[in-house]
C-alpha cells in the first residue's frame, strides 16, 4: 500500500474515533487525537493531519446544512426545508443561514453534496438556458 493510501486510511480511522453516539464530531475526542498524534509524531504527520481535516469537513457537511437566503424574511423557508430534510434523511440536522443577495429572492440549502434550490436567480438561469 502506498504511503498516501496509508495516510488516507489512517485519517478515516481517526474520523471514526472522533464521532459521538449520534454520529457527530466530538470536539473532546478530536482534541485527544491531536494530542496523542503530537506525542507519537508518526511519519507524514502533516499529510495525515491534512487528510484528517478534509475527512472532518466532509463528514460535518453530512449533518450541517448551510442555507443561503435572498432576503432575511426567507429564514423560515430555509428552516422548513431543513425539517423536511430531517424527516427524509432520519437525521438530526444542524442549520446555519447566511444572506446571499445574488439569489435575489428564495433560498439554497446545501447538505453534503446535495443542493436544494428555489430562487429567482436559478429560475432566471433556467430561462436563459431554455432560450439557448
Amino acid at each position: 500500500m502506498s504511503t498516501p493510501a496509508k495516510h488516507k486510511n489512517l485519517a478515516k480511522r481517526l474520523l471514526g474515533l472522533s464521532l459521538n453516539d449520534e454520529g457527530r464530531i466530538n470536539e473532546a475526542s478530536v482534541t485527544e487525537i491531536l494530542v496523542s498524534l503530537r506525542k507519537e509524531s508518526p511519519i507524514g504527520l502533516k499529510s495525515i493531519l491534512r487528510l484528517f481535516l478534509a475527512e472532518i469537513r466532509k463528514h460535518e457537511q453530512t449533518y450541517h446544512a448551510r442555507a443561503e437566503i435572498g432576503c432575511n424574511e426567507e429564514k423560515a423557508v430555509a428552516e422548513k426545508i431543513l425539517h423536511k430534510l430531517e424527516s427524509s434523511t432520519g437525521k438530526n440536522l444542524m442549520l446555519s443561514v447566511e444572506r446571499n443577495p445574488s439569489l435575489i429572492s428564495g433560498c439554497r440549502v446545501r447538505l453534503g453534496d446535495d443542493v436544494y434550490e428555489d430562487s429567482i436567480s436559478s429560475r432566471l438561469l433556467a430561462l436563459q438556458k431554455s432560450f439557448n
Partner: protein, 510 residues
C-alpha cells in the same frame, strides 16, 4: 412585437418553478482537459457534468473520493475550487436528416457558419450495439466505385471493412471515393423515381487530423456534389483529446439514426489510430493503469464497442444498415502492431494499401495478398460476380510468378500468358482519385478483360484503353450498361450486346 412577448410569456409559463435538487462537487485539480472533482457523490458513469461558463464534462473515472471528468470545449476559464454539478443526462448529439450537408464538432454543434442544425431529436453518444436477434447477414452491395476494391474485396451494407496502410498511401482517398460514389448512386436513384431505391447517407468522422486536410475533404465533397448526402464530424488535432475520443461515437450515433429508421448509412472513421492515441492521453491523465505501448487495458473495448454498432438489421427491425469504414495508419507497413491487430480482429475484412505499390504508381495501392472481405462477396451483384470471380486469384498468381520470373530467362507459354494477363489487370485497376466508376461500367470493362479484348493492346496502353472504353460506354454503350444495372445479371443476350459494343469500340480505338 406582441408575438415576441407571447413567445417569452409562453416560455416562462412552461418553465418549471419547483425547487431543484442537484449534486455538486468542487474541482480539486485541473490539467490537460481533465478535472478531478471532489464531491459529486451521486454522479453516474458517463454522465454529463456542468462546470461554470457553460463548460461540459463527462464523468469517466468514479473513485472513492473524487470523480475524473474529461472536459469538452474551452477550459481556460475554469480554475481549482470551481463548482461542478451533475445534470442527470448522458452526452447526446443531434441526429436526423437536418445534419446532412453540415460540418459539426464532436458534440454535434455546427462549425460551418450555416446556422443552427435543424434537428429535433437527440441520441446518446454511447449506446449498446444491436444484439443477435435484430441482425441479418450482409446481402446488399455497397459500391465503392473503385474497381480493385469492388472486384476483389467487395463491401456489403452493414459490413465493417478496415482500410489500413502507411501514411500517404491513399487510405482517405478510398473512403472519399466511396462517399462520392454513394452520392452519385443516390442522385441517379432519386432521378430514376424507383420507389425501392435505398440511398446511402454518409458520415465522415475526422479524428486528430490537420484542419487543412479536413477543409480539403470538405472542398472535394462540395465540388463533386456529394456534400448533400454527407455529415462531417470534425475533431481536429488542435481539439482537446476528449473531443477526439468522443467524435467517432457521436458520428456513430448520427449513423444509427439512419439505420434505426430503416435507411442505409455509411460511416468513415478517419482514423482510429489517432482515436486510440487520444484515449491513451485521457487514460494516462486520469491515472488509469497502462499496458502495452502505454495504452490502457480497455483499448480493445474502445474500438469493439464502436464498430459493433455497425450492423445490418432485419425486416422486423426496419431493414436499415450502418456500414463502417474505419481507417488505421500503420508504421513501416507493420500490420502486427497493437492497434492494427485489434481492429483487424474486430472488422469483417481489410483493404491493405502498400507503400511499394503506391510508389510504383499503382493507385489505388491495394495489396491482393493481405486484403480480404469476409462477408462482402455475398452482397456482390451476379453480373459482377461472374466477371470478377477469378480476378483476385489471377492477380495473386501474377504477383507470385512475377517475383520468380525475374530469375528466369526462358518462360513457358502458359506462364508468359499468365504474366501478360496479370500485368494488364494491374493496369486496368489503376484509377485516378475521386473518379469512382459505376458498377455497370466496371462489369463491362472486366468482361472485356476476361474475354481477351485487351490482349492485343500493349500493357503500357491499357490505362488509355480503359479510359477510352469508359468514354465509349458512357456515350454509345449506355443501353447495354443500363441493362446490366437494371437486371444485375449477365444473360446470354446481354453478353452478345456487350460483345458487339466492345468490338465496335475496339475498331475505333487506336
Amino acid at each position: 412585437m406582441s408575438s415576441i412577448t407571447d413567445l417569452i410569456r409562453k416560455e416562462i409559463e412552461n418553465l418549471s418553478t419547483d425547487a431543484t435538487q442537484t449534486n455538486v462537487g468542487t474541482i480539486v485539480t485541473l490539467a490537460d482537459g481533465v478535472a478531478k472533482v471532489e464531491g459529486l457523490s451521486k454522479v453516474m458513469f458517463n454522465e454529463m457534468v456542468e462546470f461554470p461558463n457553460d463548460v461540459l464534462g463527462i464523468a469517466l473515472n468514479l473513485e472513492e473520493d473524487t470523480v475524473g471528468c474529461v472536459l469538452l470545449g474551452d477550459t481556460s476559464s475554469l480554475k481549482e475550487g470551481d463548482e461542478a454539478r451533475t445534470t442527470g443526462k448522458l452526452l447526446s448529439v443531434p441526429v436526423g436528416k437536418g445534419l446532412l450537408g453540415r460540418v459539426v464538432d464532436a458534440v454535434g454543434r455546427p462549425i460551418d457558419d450555416k446556422g443552427p442544425v435543424q434537428s429535433d431529436q437527440q441520441f446518446p453518444v454511447e449506446r449498446i450495439a444491436p444484439g443477435i436477434i435484430p441482425r441479418k447477414s450482409v446481402d446488399q452491395p455497397l459500391q465503392t466505385g473503385i474497381m480493385a476494391v469492388d472486384s476483389m474485396v467487395p463491401i456489403g451494407r452493414g459490413q465493417r471493412e478496415l482500410i489500413i496502410g502507411d501514411r500517404s498511401t491513399g487510405k482517405t482517398t478510398i473512403a472519399i471515393d466511396t462517399i462520392i460514389n454513394q452520392a452519385k448512386i443516390n442522385k441517379q436513384g432519386e432521378d430514376s423515381g424507383d420507389p425501392n431505391f435505398r440511398p446511402v447517407y454518409c458520415i465522415y468522422v475526422a479524428v486528430g487530423q490537420k484542419n487543412s486536410n479536413v477543409a480539403r475533404t470538405i472542398k472535394i465533397l462540395e465540388d463533386t456534389g456529394a456534400m448533400d448526402y454527407v455529415t462531417i464530424v470534425s475533431a481536429p488535432a488542435a481539439d482537446n483529446p476528449a473531443n477526439q475520443y468522443l467524435a467517432p461515437y457521436s458520428g456513430c450515433a448520427m449513423g444509427e439514426w439512419f439505420m434505426e429508421n430503416g435507411m442505409d448509412a455509411l460511416i468513415v472513421y478517419d482514423d482510429l489510430s489517432k482515436h486510440a492515441v487520444a484515449y491513451r492521453q485521457i487514460s494516462l491523465i486520469l491515472k488509469r493503469p497502462s499496458g502495452r505501448e502505454a495504452y490502457p487495458g480497455d483499448v480493445f473495448y474502445l474500438h469493439s464497442r464502436l464498430l459493433e454498432r455497425s450492423a445490418r438489421l432485419n425486416e422486423e427491425s426496419g431493414n436499415g444498415s450502418l456500414t463502417a469504414l474505419p481507417i488505421i495508419e500503420t508504421q513501416m507497413g507493420d500490420v502486427s502492431g497493437y492497434i492494427p491487430t485489434n481492429v483487424i480482429s474486430i472488422t469483417d475484412g481489410q483493404i491493405f494499401l502498400e507503400t511499394d505499390l503506391f510508389n510504383k504508381g499503382i493507385k489505388p495501392a491495394v495489396s491482393v495478398g493481405l486484403s480480404v472481405s469476409r462477408v462482402g462477396s455475398a452482397a456482390q451483384i451476379k453480373a459482377y460476380k461472374k466477371v470478377a470471380g477469378k480476378v483476385k486469384l489471377e492477380l495473386a498468381q501474377f504477383r507470385e510468378l512475377a517475383a520468380f520470373s525475374q530469375f528466369e530467362s526462358d518462360l513457358d507459354a502458359a506462364t508468359k500468358a499468365r504474366l501478360d494477363r496479370g500485368a494488364r489487370i494491374v493496369e486496368m485497376f489503376k484509377q485516378g482519385a475521386y473518379e469512382p466508376v459505376p458498377v455497370e461500367i466496371q462489369t463491362a470493362i472486366m468482361w472485356g478483360m476476361q474475354n481477351d479484348f485487351f490482349d492485343s493492346i500493349s500493357v503500357d496502353d491499357i490505362t488509355r484503353a480503359v479510359s477510352s472504353l469508359k468514354e465509349y460506354l458512357y456515350s454509345q454503350g449506355k443501353e447495354v450498361c443500363e441493362e446490366i444495372y437494371s437486371t444485375g445479371k449477365l444473360e446470354e443476350s446481354t453478353e452478345q450486346k456487350l460483345r458487339s459494343s466492345l468490338e465496335d469500340w475496339k475498331r475505333t480505338f487506336s
